[in-house]
């Protein structure tokens, strides 16, 4: 299988449930189990929430594009925005033992994806690349 699915939403939190549903459906089509699907759904939701909060600073009128693809044995999800540049090295998330509001989103993203990176070639806005190695799978 070498299929791609692209979803374009407005940067409003009301559309995050749609992203979660599409993520879960895509994972189901890929044959992933419920536990991994739940983790991926949360991670993609958090990545899109970060775009709204940080790249767009709460502006709900902008655009977010989420692309899902299976290439070989990898699930690749890219999240594109046209907001302020993100710097992963400055986004460390809080120490999990330091209980306070906020700072968890990146932990939820990193705990399930094997690769979390920003495309350095993207001139305007951000393209976040999330890769999950799926191991051996039955091909369609």
């Amino acid at each position: 299988m070498n299929d791609t699915v692209t979803v374009r939403i407005r940067s409003h939190p009301q559309y995050l449930s749609l992203i979660r549903d599409v993520t879960a459906r895509f994972c189901s089509i890929c044959g992933l189990d419920g536990e991994v699907t739940g983790d991926l759904k949360l991670a993609v939701d958090e990545a899109c929430s970060n775009v709204i909060k940080h790249a767009y600073r709460g502006d709900t009128s902008r655009g977010i594009v989420v692309k899902y693809a299976i290439t070989g044995r990898d699930l690749r999800i890219t999240i594109e925005d046209a907001g302020e540049k993100a710097r992963l090295e400055l986004m460390q998330g809080r120490d999990l033992d330091d209980i306070r509001p906020g700072g968890l989103g990146l932990h939820f993203i990193k705990r399930v994806f094997d690769t979390v990176a920003y495309d350095p070639k993207r001139k305007k806005g951000n393209r976040m690349l999330l890769i999950k190695h799926l191991g051996s799978r039955d091909e369609d």
């Binding site: 009301q14 979660r20 989103g105």
Partner: protein
């Protein structure tokens, strides 16, 4: 998300249903902070029908707990579904919140 506030055995109980995310958590936050303003000694949140929570939902409860701690109030959670509990455990929130299997266990403590 649905939020019901009621009384059970003399305690305020917030029963939640559905998904707690960046869209719904501001509503929950407002509701919780209004309840906490009355400085209840104990506030129970029942998660039985919650199907999803993200970091904004967790932040809401951490904020509520911090407010309640200022006057030694207790924020208790009950009936947390397994999937939600795993997120709480990963976030180490199971170490800071009072978590009970049933609503009765929460109100009786």
């Amino acid at each position: 998300m649905k939020i019901d506030v009621g009384d059970y055995k003399g305690n305020k109980v917030v029963s939640l249903a559905g998904e707690i995310d960046m869209h719904s958590s501001p509503v929950l936050r407002e509701k919780l902070l209004v309840l906490i303003k009355d400085r209840p000694q104990k506030l129970v949140v029942n998660f039985r029908d919650v199907s999803y929570i993200d970091s904004s939902g967790i932040a809401t409860f951490v904020e509520g707990l911090k407010h309640m701690k200022t006057y030694n109030g207790r924020l208790q959670f009950s009936e947390i579904p397994q999937g939600i509990m795993e997120i709480f455990s990963f976030s180490k929130l199971d170490k800071v919140f009072e978590i009970y299997g049933t609503l009765d266990e929460a109100v009786n403590r």
